[in-house]
Structures are given as structure tokens and as C-alpha cells.
Symmetry: D2
Subunit: 403 residues, 4 copies
């Protein structure tokens, strides 16, 4: 509808070089990352550069996961900034009259999906915003439905606790007015060794850092060690000793080997914690801080950067966003999931680094500000031998080669 | 998969300037008619020009409607020519190992959909290949299913009998080995007046031409006049007299006014014809003719052109296609639906004109050769005020503004 | 300056999809034939499609050759239509204030260059508008300078008398108010054989046609046969007999073999004609005819087409140009130089064909209307082994490999 | 010739996404900064992204200024890396057989131009490589010609002594084997105030820093103060006192006010220095250092950065360049001319900053490695009212509006 609006006279005076909204396609197609569209003359619209993103990277996905109800969804969709006019002012989806139709398309998608595990436990699966460009949690509606239906509701926040947990606490909990009772930090011997460049002793510094970080939020913590065959007793003991030193709970999860039964010990520990330990949840930062202060708070408290460096372009964007009146939005950091620092090869508990903010983007619909520490890939490519080459269907109509 | 193949080393040596396969999206989006993709450097694939087409204009849709069963579908999908290599040789979807996955995706789509009319009559709706670039008929599987389930099966072939009926007889009947028993030519007083530039007397020449044309196929004919309020008795009588002169049946259809009951007379006439008149169906042309002869046959016998003019570019394409071994394919003409001639403003029973063939395309999967007499639009655009602007959803979750 | 104007606010409201002015570069560079420019964001201008043309195909070259003096040059440059605004109205170089600077740049170029032949005869070489897209003659100023300085002034009009001579008579003579006294038709045995598909007897039909055509202009004619070694006496005699039958003069030119001396006979014949035969020059058509009538006149009288076919797009362009008030401009035909017809393989004296007009362009600065009968190449490409590969410079600073 | 090579079969297997050579045009044309070329199908070459640069930013200009003679010029032109093949190996102009023709084109351009000042003093003007992307000095040939013809040769190295003088000493002197006898640092009261944010007392820190820097090279120094009307005695005295403290000569230049006569005092001081002070020129760094060490040496010794930060992409480029065998090339820094640091607003004698290297480029023809600390503009744009709008030519052929 954006390009059609421009083609039909451009009443909103949209600047074709400053359109932030991307076309979206649910395919891995690297050739669509950077395109020029509208070629071929007057009948084919106005030429401009565009980028396709994959569905889960779209702001619509983030909004779907943060909307309270249909009306809220429609409002948030309407607030999406699709670009800027020639005077540099934001143009929203609402001004294009697109929000009603978008909400109508999503009227069923807003309802959580109930599925079951292989052991027939009910699970709600709903929403999947990319954790690199969005907040990476499932939908508020699904979590609230769980809280209403079940005694205990568990939700996941992936990509390292510095990314997933921070965003869960500071974006989702704050927006949904949820106060968690227990935090489970999941780890493996293999991951800790990787963080020590092969040495478990070195790598546990990473776990210690995550434990220290999550203590900031005031919620009781249990570390769950996902046990695999190759793990030795002494390795497990060593990890446990680290948790003891930090005065947090520790439990082994044997779900990988034994299915649901392997998780009983962890479940009991959690139930016990719920009964005996008191949560005192508080977010990392006050929303009234400036955008720069909030970014700095996350970088120095959670990542432990010495300081932040905001590149000139990003600084201009921050000023623009604050002028637009969005300084009270939470920050959604876009950082690699391998290191606390900007450098994915710097493992363990990185120290003495500066977090560089290269770009800042306003998500006026999803109501957060994305701060990017590097390039973020929002349209994947296919591998040399795409799975599609192995997929086939036989004469009986059975699809083969899917796995 | 094409661009990924090229990006990953291009083992098939595909010429990026000679890729005939288009990306496809089920949206009206004129800005995607001509695009440049693969920009942004080595990680984003190889730069090239591309065009997006709408789903119904894709060769996949034509194949879906011409496939006999799943195996045939997979074969035909594999035969699709996606482009040419640097030696000018065709590269197929099968060479990309894409046909298995494509067939798997379509395994449910190949089955006809059973729906019902407002009066609860069962109807099969299945497939919608654009009649401008493809053959414009519903699927062979749906028609065959109808023939198996019902005493009488009726199917539609739209866009003027010179396009729809010709393709139904010469492409679909021949491929499906179907022999129709009766032809119903549907007309209206308004359409005939339009063809006479306002004068019914002039405009009936168009009906006469269609009747003469369909006689060629040897199938008993009834003309059904779709009656509207403004039609006068004498007008109807006049049309009937034309049919009498041509010695074909005539019946009034009052379905517009009276629903199913309004079609009873026509139904009885058809049943009577089935019992008393014998069909002697034969196609217009023998597939063994050369491509040029077949094009010429359609243009001179059905359109009544004095001759055809094949532009040099189209002539080279014909030579290439015949060299590739596809000279026995039927022809799928792409012509405007308003006039027998290339000029949409030349109404009635056009005479003394030349049919110009501007472009010829091989559909190796769908197994026909498209001959274009002009530019064909395969990606529509939105109007000045797209319907989406009126669509909304209210607080009760009811979608409004759809009509 | 066009893209800068658009970038700086576009006060003239120029439609970026409807800019007719092309960038120009004096290089053979096929990759610049179709480009997309202005990419990379707000600082880099507005994205649009553009084409580069080679200098000699630019309207500026045509104007330089048709300008009477510096003031006329500046006016004509100012009249160039560089594109259209969003209301479809023409925008000129004058509105961009570009004509003064353009004229200043050309202030020396407008003066003819005096050079000499190998035999030290003075020659004026000035201007080279492409004969496919422009009128193909040298500058009016050079011709007028010749007329002032010399007793006899000879000028060339290449590319077949149906193209070069027609444009010389109907565009240049009319604009310069020049009345030629003698026409020299140059031919060779080899060219005539080629036109007869190897047979001289057949090929002379081409010469006959040209003679008949030029008689229309009322100027005394001499046919000059460029003699080569392989030509036999009887062949020459045969060509002479054709000229005799047409009652035009005939002379052999042996310049190829003998230099200036070989042209003496022809020179004497011409001097004799100047003294004894009277020219009665009149153009082919009256400028007051409509554009279509003028095109038709050229096609039927000179090319001997049965009729012309103006494609719908070209027809719309003609209507637009006439509405803009340019119907009195002469026609500059863009046709292949091999055949009288649109088909370059149709040699000799083509008959029974239709001349198709595919496109019509207004040159408001050069003051003619170009009618294109096919695609015209205005940016050449390099061959597989460009001459540049052979060019070198040795240690003494001598450039080698130029020829 | 690059695109033609690719079009004609691409025998060198050039990767169209990795072509480093840019098209060049001597125009200010921002719309050509980022373009897509080769569109329009098989006849128009291979699609790819390209950028146009202005002549002075081309590596050819740098080579012209560093070439010793015609043979050296041809060799250097042949060594230009025009891009990389699909295996990532460099492809040179020599492999395209382009260097001979390029040298032939430049055979006259390589000779210095002798012009005169308003006071009829002879001056050689020759070459103008952009100081942001190249080394910013005039040609070695002109300097050597001066040394041969005159008693004293003066040359300029602009853009701040941290850029111009550093490159003159470390690139040009080293390549030309020239050893300067005196350095003249030119300054103004206005510039020093600007560097003190208005305060002369603060701003002289900038001058002090430049003096300290140039002492490193071991050449006797004189500071020349360009005197303007607004300068007060006490201001001039203050600057002189700074020079005294640094034990370098100081002289006032009144050339702005008095022409040549105003420079006599400075000239005499220089002559005196030549007779009495001994130059002991040595470059800043040894060419045998690694590229990173050389960059670090410049940044920490001249700019006085605490350290350098090489971004990951730049680090990969350095590794690639060293693997290609070019680690012994000098470094050509691309930095803003306003500040010693990367931040143009950080004036005076910047301290406590890190120099960030964002990109590194090999100039295999010019034989240096460019290290970029930010984005570099290599194609200017026109202003809102281009001078061309004011340029005109009157009836007498006089060009007006040039100034």
C-alpha cells in the first residue's frame, strides 16, 4: 500500500529514499536482501531501494506478541512508522488506512495455539519475534492464558541470558505487568567448556556472570544443568560448587536422556523454591531515563562494558527519536549471542571493552527502541544444498526427505 | 533455489540475464513488476533483473490444472524451464532438484475443492490459470471427478469463445481426452449492443461469428441469452432469429432474476440436445502441424485475420522452440478479450486485419506454447483507493468493509 | 543538473519516470545502456532508471549541426525537452537554467574545423549526428562557410539515399534555406550485386529506385560508379545502360585507384551539369501536413511501402506532440540502412510491405520529430577483442597498434 | 573494458560482485555515486553494482603523480587491481591488456604544465590526487623538473600537516628519493582561534602539535603567519612566542595584502635557513614494519591517539593485502582534515582518543595502502543553485557568470 500510495499521487509526500518499512516474505532468499523495485516506467510505480525481511523479523510479529487484545493490536499496527515524508516527519500505517485491514488479517493469529508434547503435556506455542532485531519472547497473550489456566506457567527467553532474559524482564514483564517468581538458568558442560576455549575452569566465569546479572532482578534463581552422556561426575560437581559459591540453587536435568521423568528433580526444586523463596522482582532500569542512559545501563550492568560508544549516525537517530517523544520506550538491544562484548570471539566473561552502538531504530508500533551493536541479518539464505533438494513425494502421496 | 544455485557456484552455468522463471507473490503489487535483486555484495547473491508475477499467472498454476495425478504433476513441474545456461541450453526445475519439493507442497492443492451454491447445488472449484497467459480453464482433475460423480458435468471457459472455448477445445480436451456433448454460448443483449457500438443489429455479427467458429468443433450448440430487465421482446426475438438462421438452438436464461428456477428451460433444452443430437467433436488443428501453421490456423479460422505477421524476435523464438523439440505442443494464444483482432477497440466481427505475434514463450512443464499478440499484464496493481483502506475489524472481532 | 534539481526539492515537479534526457559519454560501453542511478539513500539523489548514449547520438549534436549562430544555438539548447512533470507537461533545459552554460561550453565547438586531404585539398569537417537517430548531415554552418569560400561546395549525406539524401533535402536544405544544384549518387558493382543477392541484374533495381526517388526533388542527377579492380567492362556498361534508360548522367570514379586524378572525369561532368542543367529543387512534403501524413509521404513515396502502420503507443505520442504544437516539424525517420523496408534482409527494390512506426520522439531543440521503425542502438559496445588491447606506447613515447 | 571482458565470456572469471575499479567522470554528479549497470538483457552486459568517482579520486591520478617516466607509468597502470575473480584472486589491468592503451592516452598528460603567476613568476601545475583518498601532492615529475631548472623548488602539501605533510614525507619523498631542506608551516590567526573554539590561547596548541610532529622528520622549520587586516600586534607576538618556545623560526607573510613583495621577508628567512641550518630528513616509519604497525605509528606519533582500533572487516583486508605481498607499501591515511582525531569537531590538540580504521584498500598501481578512518566522498554533488545556472554567453561570444 505504501508504493501504491506513492504511485497514486503521494498525498502524504512520502520520501522514497526514507521508507523504513520492508516488504516481507516467509522464505530464505538472500537475493531479496537488497533490491531495486518500481522499475519499468510510469505504470510500475516509483523506483526505490527496498529490502525483504523474513516474517519473524517484521515489526508486525513483535506487535502480535506484545498486544493485549484486538483493539490494542490495531492501535499498535496503526502506530507503525512506515517511513518519513520529505519534511522528515514520520508517516504511520494509520495514515495509510492500513491498520484496520492488517488487524483483520491477524484476527485469528492473535489467539494462542494449544499443542502437546510427545508425552501429551499441553503447551502454548504463539509468536516468534527474532531475538536479534526484536524482543525474542512468546506472546503476552499466551503467557497470560497460561497464568489463567495453570498453577505454574513456564516460558522461555532464548539467546543467552544477557539477551533473552534481559529483554524478558525489561520489555515483556514491564509491558505485561508480570512479576516472575523463579528464574531457571539452563546450561551445559559443553557450553561452559566452549566459553573457556576448551577449559571448563575458565568457562564457568560465563555462568557466574549470568548468575550475578540475574540477581539484579531480585528473582530466586536455580541453575539447571542439561546433562549429556559425556559429562563426568567431577565436572558436574565443579559447576555445582560455583552455584553454591553464588548461593543459588543447582539441579541436574536429565530430560535429554529420560524425557519428562528426567525433569522431575528440577520440577520439585522449582516447586520448593516457589513455596519457600520470595521473589522481589524489579526491572534493571527506570523507563524515565534517557535512551542513552538506558542503553548505557544495559551495556555496563549486564554486558559489563567499560562504557558505550554511540556512533555519530546513531546519536543523530537517538536525538530524532527523543524529539518524536519516544524517550520513555524500553531498549531492545541487538547484539550477537556469543559474547557479552560486540566481538563474538571474545568468550567467557569479557572485560575491558566498549559497546559500540552503530544504529538505533524506533519501533513505534511495538513500542521499543532497537539499539544495534553490529549488522543484523533479517533475511536468511539457503545453504549450498537446500533441504528442498531432498524433499520428494512418492506415488502413495507420502512426503519424504523432510528430516 | 535458482538464485541460491547461482550464488553457491552456479554448477549449471545459468546465464543470469536469461532466466525465464519469475518470483511469485499472491499480492497486487505493481512495484514488483520490474526489480533488480541480489544487490549489496557477495553475501547477497548475484545481481540480476527479475519480475514478480501473481500466483494465477505462474506456470505452476497451469500445470496444476493440466496434471492427471501426483506423478504427472511432479514430472511436469520438473520439466519447467527456469532459464538458459551460458550456452543457450534450457535448464529445468528437475536439474535444480526442485520438483520433488514443489510436488510435495502441492500434494493437497491437487485435490479439487467441493463447495455449494446458494441453492446448495454441489460445485467443484479448482484452479484458476490466467486466461491471458495460460489456458484459462479449471483443472482436468476436477472435470474428470465431475464426470465420474454426476450424470451431466458443466464447465466454464471464459474470456470470449475465441479465447476460452478455443483453448478449452484445443488444449484441455485434447490433453484430457475429453469429448464434449454440447456447447452453450452465453450472451447478453448489452454485450451485443456494445459490439455494435450501440446498435444491436450491428452487434449480432459478433454472435454469428462465434457460432460459426464453434461449429468447426462439431459439437451441438445452444445460445443462452442471459436476460436482464431492460431487454425488450423484440430484441430477444431478433437474437433468436439470428440463431435460427444459423440453425442452432436458442434459450433464454433467467437465472439473474429467478435463481435456479430461471435456468430450468435452458437445462431442459440441454438434456433434450444430449438425447437427440450427436456430437462429433474434432479439434481445430492437428498437433503435428508446425507452430507457425497452428498459430496461423487459429488466427485465420477463429479470429478471421487475413494473415499473421510474426515479428523477427518471435520468429527466432519459434525456431528455438522447434529445435528444442516442442513443435508438437498446442498453442495458447494471448490476445485481448474485446476484439477478434489485436485492436481492442475493433468490435463486432472484425475483418481485414493482420494478427501480429510479438513474442512466443515455451511452457515446457504445462506443455503448450504461448503466442503473445501484445503486452500481457501478469502482476496487477492496486487502485487509487485500495479496498484494504475500508476493511476494519470492530471490538467484537467482526471484520467489516469487505464488500 | 536534472538529478540535482530533483534532489534539491524538485521545484519543477519533474516525474522521475518520465525523463527523456539521457546522460552522455563518449565511450563504447554497453553496460551503461540501461542503468539505475541515485541509489544509496537520501544523500545520493532520487533513484531512477537512466540510459547513457554516445555523444553523436545526443540531441546536442543535432542542434550543433542545425544552429545558424551562437544565439540560435542557445535558443535551441534551451528548447530541449529534458522530461515531463507529474502533470505530463514538458520541462525544458531553459527552465533548468542550463542553456547558457551549455552554449558557453560549445562556443568554440560551433566553429567549423578546416583540415586538408592527403593531396592538400581543404576540407571542412564539422559535426556528426548519428544518422539512425538524427539527421546524419554535417553542420549548416560548415556548409554555408563552404558556399561563401568556394565556387563549388560538396557535402555528403550517408546511409543510403532513402535515409541520407531524404533527410538532407527535407530537413537540412529546408532549415538552411539551401537549394542544391546537382545530386551525385555513389554506387559500386559490389553493392548492387549484394542487393541482387549476388546477381547484378537483380540488384540494379535498387539503383533504379534511388534514381526515381531523387528525381522527385527536381535536382539534376549523376550516378558515380566507384570503380574497383574486380569490376568488368560489361558490368560497368550494364550499370551505365540503366542510367541511360533513366535519362540521368553516369560517370566512373577511379579515386580509389588513382586518388584525385581518378575523380577528374566526374568533376568535369558535374561542372558541365552546373553550366547546362537547371535545378528545380522542391522538398518531398509540405511542412503544413500532419505528422502522420508526412511519415506516410516518406514511407510510400521513398520507401514505396503499401501503407504505414502506427503502433498504438506511437499514435499516442503523435497526438501528444501535435497537442504540444510541433506538428509543423519535419520528420526524421529512423530506419535500417540495408533495405527500403523495415526488414534488413529484404534487398533490392522491396515491394508489398508495410512500414511500421513503433515509437515517435520529439526533438524540440533540434526541431524535428523522430519516427522509429525499430529499435535504435544509441550506445555501441566493444567487440570481443577491443582495439585498446593492441594499443601500446613504446619507450620513445610512440603510440603503436592504432590501426 | 572490464564489463566488456565479462560480457564476452569472462575468461578471467571475474566476480561481478567484487570489482574494485570504478567508472570515472569529471563531473559533480551525486546520482552516479551508487548505480546498477548492465540492465536490459543479454545484449547489455552483465548486471552489477557500480560507483562513479570523480577524476581526481581515481587511482590513475595518483599513479600519474607518482610515475617516474612513461615506462614506469605503464607498469603501474598495469598493476592496478580492477577486482577479484571467483576464487578471490586479484585481476589486474595488465591481464585485461588495458595498460598499453591507458599509457598511450596519458602520454601527454605525464608532462608537467608550465604556467605563470599574476606577477609572471613561472609555476609548474601538474596533477591533483584527492588528499582524502590519495596522497594529495603534485607530481614527482614536476617536482624533479623544478629541482633541475631552479635553484630553489617549493611544493605544497595541503589539508593540514598531519595529512599533507605526513604523506609528502612518508609517501612522495620516499618514492621520489627526495630530501627536503626546509619545511614552511603556514598558519593564520583565524585558523588558530578556530582551533581554540574562539580563543587564540587555546588554539595555538594545534600549532605546537604540528611543530612537534614535523620535528620528527628532522627538517628545519619556519612558521609562516599569513597576515590579514584583523590580526593585532599582540596576537602576532603571541604566536611568535610559541614558535620561540619551540625553537623554530617565525616569519610574517603579507602576500595576501602586498602580493610578491609581501613574501620577501619569508623568502629571505628561507634562504638564510638553507645556508645555515642543516636538514637531516628521515621518514616517520620503516617500510619493513607491518601494515598495522605503520598505521599505528602514524596514529600514535602524528595524531597522538592512545591506540588504534581496527574493525574486523578492515583487519581481514589487511591480512588479505599482506598475503598478496604488499606489506612493504607505505600507508596513505584517509582522515578528516579538521581534527587530529576521527571526530571533526574535536579541535586544538586532541587527546585521549582512539583512531578507528574502518576500511583498508590496496592501490597496487599507486603502490600504497589506503587506511580509512571514516566514509570518504569520492563523487561530489552540485549545490542547490549550481554555478551553471549563472553561466551564460552573450551575443559577442563572451562567456559571463563564471565567478
Amino acid at each position: 500500500m505504501i508504493d501504491n500510495h506513492i504511485h497514486q499521487g503521494n498525498a502524504l509526500n512520502i520520501d522514497v529514499r526514507n521508507i523504513t518499512w520492508k516488504r516481507c516474505m516467509d522464505l530464505n532468499d538472500r537475493a531479496l536482501r537488497e533490491v531495486v523495485i518500481g522499475l519499468g516506467g510510469q505504470l510500475n510505480g516509483m523506483p526505490r531501494q527496498d529490502n525483504f525481511v523474513i516474517t519473524v523479523a517484521s515489526e508486525v510479529m513483535a506487535i502480535l506478541c506484545l498486544a493485549i487484545d484486538l483493539e490494542d493490536l490495531k492501535n499498535k499496527l496503526g502506530n507503525i512508522i512506515i517511513g518519513y515524508n520529505l519534511n522528515g516527519e514520520a508517516v504511520t500505517a494509520k495514515e495509510l488506512n492500513a491498520n484496520g485491514a492488517m488487524a483483520a488479517l491477524l484476527k485469528d493469529a492473535i489467539n494462542p495455539n494449544l499443542v502437546q508434547t510427545l508425552e501429551h503435556t499441553p503447551v502454548l506455542i504463539h509468536g516468534g519475534p527474532f531475538a536479534n532485531i526484536a524482543h525474542g519472547c512468546n506472546s503476552i497473550r499466551a503467557t497470560k492464558l497460561g497464568l489463567k489456566l495453570a498453577d505454574i506457567t513456564i516460558t522461555e527467553a532464548g539467546f543467552g541470558a544477557d539477551l533473552g532474559a534481559e529483554k524478558f524482564f525489561d520489555i515483556k514483564c514491564s509491558k505485561a505487568d508480570i512479576s516472575p517468581d523463579v528464574v531457571v538458568i539452563v546450561t551445559t558442560i559443553r557450553a561452559l567448556k566452549h566459553n573457556g576455549y576448551g577449559e571448563l575452569k575458565e568457562g564457568v566465569s560465563n555462568l557466574t556472570r549470568h548468575i550475578e546479572n540475574l540477581k539484579i532482578y531480585g528473582v530466586p534463581i536455580v541453575v539447571a544443568l542439561n546433562k549429556f552422556n559425556a559429562d563426568t561426575e567431577s565436572e558436574i560437581e565443579f559447576v555445582k560448587s560455583i552455584c553454591d559459591k553464588q548461593q543459588v540453587n543447582f539441579e541436574i536435568s536429565e530430560v535429554w536422556e529420560k524425557g519428562g521423568a528426567g525433569g522431575e528433580a528440577l520440577a520439585n526444586t522449582i516447586i520448593n523454591m516457589l513455596e519457600t523463596e520470595k521473589s522481589n522482582y524489579r526491572p534493571l532500569y527506570n523507563l524515565e531515563l534517557s535512551l542513552e542512559e538506558k542503553i548505557s545501563k544495559i551495556a555496563t550492568s549486564i554486558y559489563r562494558a567499560n562504557s558505550i560508544y554511540i556512533e555519530p549516525k546513531a546519536r543523530r537517530e537517538i536525538e530524532k527519536i527523543e524529539k518524536m517523544g519516544y524517550s520513555h520506550f524500553p531498549i531492545c538491544m541487538a547484539k550477537n549471542q556469543y559474547s557479552f562484548s560486540d566481538d563474538p570471539t571474545n568468550l567467557g566473561a569479557s572485560e575491558n571493552f566498549v559497546t559500540t552502538i552503530k544504529e538505533v531504530r524506533i519501533m513505534a508500533g511495538a513500542e521499543f527502541v532497537v539499539a544495534l551493536t553490529g549488522n543484523v541479518m533479517v533475511m536468511p539464505g539457503l545453504p549450498k544444498n537446500p533441504s528442498a533438494e531432498n524433499i520428494d513425494i512418492n506415488k502413495d502421496g507420502i512426503v519424504i526427505g523432510l528430516f
